[in-house]
């Protein structure tokens, strides 16, 4: 018994040590980012986050356009991906025969294993021409009165980036949604059916309604990936440092701005401004995640469901 205890204690200490490494690494990253971005913080201050002027020649830097690009492309990805992922999860869990569900489920999860540069290449050679030749002209013709669908169809741009991101985050959201839906006790479903609910009503009332907090968690994980995704977005977003109301227009995200310019950044202020962009990205992720936690907390408190 004594040996067991000693072993337990060592095990406990080892785990504690290892987990504090992760926190330590996070703290180091933040500290280094602040250190590196300090010259830019001093020079531009808060206006760095709102200004959309990014001119390496004049040494004027502002990340407003990047923040906009990151937020909008990620939001667009969620708008497309959330209904899709939830339906896929429901179909696989509740409707499809087990064999079919296994195969499709495996294929959806395989999407997560594709490297992002491959998504980017596929985007350039398949998605962008498709958008340019068919989708964007169609949207422009029939919905051109909406500000979102105006301007020349380049193929690449905010829309392409949002679509590629939505494909990339779908496996994450689907997998977690499936787990969450699976966690709904069988007797809840049986109870709903016993009360005379149709299958659709059973799914809606017993499964989906009681799983919102879990689904929300899934969405946040997907959003996390979308906010930080770099390579595929850089290849498809058109890399233009401007805010445009149209989804057809090229844009730029924080992650892709850093990836684009860091290697060749010459002056100290340029490097430090890029670090500031990194810090801003970190802050945006932090804010989004905390907001999401709060919402999940509320949902849980109200719904009373454990998941």
């Amino acid at each position: 018994m004594k040996i067991r205890n000693r072993f337990d204690r060592r095990f406990h200490r080892t785990l504690l040590g290892l987990s504090s490494i992760t926190i330590g690494v996070l703290a180091l990253i933040v500290a280094y980012l602040i250190h590196l971005s300090w010259p830019a913080v001093k020079e531009f201050g808060f206006s760095f986050l709102t200004s959309t002027e990014w001119d390496p020649v004049a040494e004027k830097y502002g990340s407003g356009a990047f923040i906009y690009g990151t937020v909008v492309s990620s939001f667009l990805a969620l708008v497309i991906s959330v209904p899709l992922s939830m339906s896929v999860a429901l179909v696989l869990n509740e409707l499809a025969p087990k064999k079919v569900a296994e195969v499709i489920g495996f294929m959806v999860e395989m999407l997560a294993a594709i490297p992002s540069v491959v998504f980017g290449l596929w985007g350039i050679f398949f998605l962008a021409p498709l958008l340019r030749l068919y989708v964007q002209p169609f949207l422009g013709q029939h919905f051109g009165f909406i500000f979102l669908f105006q301007g020349p169809p380049y193929g690449v741009g905010m829309l392409a980036a949002g679509i590629i991101l939505s494909i990339m985050i779908t496996p994450t959201i689907t997998a977690i949604c499936r787990e969450v839906f699976r966690g709904v006790p069988l007797h809840h479903r049986e109870a709903a059916l016993a009360l005379g609910a149709t299958r659709w009503e059973m799914i809606r009332l017993a499964v989906v309604k009681s799983s919102w907090s879990g689904v929300f968690g899934a969405i946040i994980l997907g959003l996390g990936r979308a906010l930080g995704e770099t390579m595929a977005v850089t290849m498809l977003i058109g890399n233009r440092n401007e805010i445009s109301s149209s989804l057809f227009a090229p844009a730029q995200t924080m992650a892709s701005a850093i990836a684009n310019e860091y290697a060749e950044a010459g002056s100290q202020l340029h490097v430090s401004s890029l670090a500031f962009v990194g810090l801003a990205l970190f802050l945006v992720s932090l804010i989004v995640n905390s907001l999401a936690r709060m919402v999940i907390h509320r949902l849980r408190a109200r719904g009373g469901m454990s998941r």
């Binding site: 390496p56 350039i124 340019r132 193929g155 890399n239 090229p250 290697a263 010459g266």
Partner: protein, 340 residues
């Protein structure tokens, strides 16, 4: 038997010890991506000729190369643009510039049905990239391309989204030929583009141009040639429309010889001479003036080889050799490297 793997490991290490000794003949450099295809060929060819010599090169970009050189983390750097006076002042060990080879930036476009190369003048290129011309059949383009049936297609400008020596050369040229460009945009490895889409890397720009009818972009010559893209003839300072090729690129360096400063830091865009291609550029190896003996000796021998035999390899991969006079001059600078 947990000891056995350890034993095998120790044996493997001891077997590899001799190669650790030989590591004194391995040198590491980092920098420009533009000459990377040529450099990697040089390093592998040279390594085959001189067994035991290993030159590692990481193409992390000119800016990164200069940064690492100033931090003394590599044995040599490489850059498409010469270092600035300020950067040189920050160097703990003085740095020498060795022009190694010449390259060109070309204007490439996608206009289906047009087979003969288009002519573009300097003022036209500036107007195009300033976003002042919207359609391919604009009278300004038609005027210098008589007989070409230009389509009524919107122009889509494509530029590099990542910081790059290619952009530096291109904007340096625009700075020289257009006062408006100079005041509105300027020259750097990345600039605030008035119009257009950004593609990441030469391959990104190439991809966009290849796919989008009406696109106009600038890439290194190698990428346009390899991808069979149309390449424009560009009007030089003497008013002649010149095709980018080894001959015209070397001519640009030739005509700049008189103005060549002792440290070789010069821009040869918009060079004089009727044969010169105006978007030509040197690419430099950056070497410390003082080097440890073994590494320095290896690097000097390599440079001697690259400046003579290496030049012959250039043309096959769309670079241009240095003018013979110049490569001799550059070679004589090798004497300034002090070995300790």
């Amino acid at each position: 038997m947990p000891r056995l793997p350890l034993l095998i490991f120790l044996i493997m290490i001891s077997v590899h010890l001799p190669s650790v000794q030989a590591a004194t003949r391995s040198i590491t450099g980092a920098g420009a991506t533009f000459p990377y295809p040529l450099y990697s060929k040089w390093f592998s060819d040279y390594g085959k000729l001189h067994p035991g010599v290993e030159i590692n090169y990481q193409s992390i970009g000119s800016g990164g190369g200069v940064r690492q050189l100033l931090e003394n983390t590599i044995d040599f750097g490489a850059s498409d643009t010469p270092m600035t006076d300020e950067q040189l002042k920050n160097a703990k060990i003085p740095i020498l510039h060795f022009p190694m080879i010449l390259g060109a930036v070309c204007l490439t476009y996608h206009l289906p049905g047009i087979t003969e190369p288009l002519n573009l003048s300097s003022s036209l290129i500036a107007d195009l990239f300033l976003g002042k011309i919207f359609y391919w059949n604009d009278p300004k383009i038609q005027a210098i391309n008589p007989g070409v049936n230009l389509p009524n297609v919107p122009i889509m400008i494509v530029h590099r989204s990542d910081g790059s020596g290619t952009t530096a050369v291109f904007t340096d040229y625009l700075n020289k030929v257009s006062p408006e460009w100079k005041s509105r945009v300027g020259a750097a490895t990345s600039v605030k583009w008035p119009v257009g889409l950004g593609g990441k890397g030469n391959e990104g720009v190439t991809g966009f141009v290849k796919q989008s009818p009406g696109a106009l972009g600038y890439v290194e010559l190698l990428y346009a040639e390899k991808n069979h893209l149309s390449v424009a003839n560009v009007q030089n300072a003497a008013g002649v429309f010149v095709k980018p090729e080894a001959k015209s690129i070397t001519a640009a360096a030739q005509s700049s010889l008189q103005a060549m400063p002792k440290d070789f830091r010069i821009s040869i865009t918009n060079a004089l001479g009727k044969n010169s291609y105006p978007l030509s550029s040197f690419t430099y190896l950056l070497v410390y003036r003082e080097m440890p003996k073994a590494k320095g000796q290896t690097l000097v021998s390599f440079l001697e080889w690259a400046l003579v035999d290496g030049q012959k390899l250039a043309e096959s991969i769309f670079y241009a050799p240095l003018p013979a006079v110049l490569s001799l001059k550059v070679k004589s600078q090798l004497k300034e490297i002090q070995l300790k």
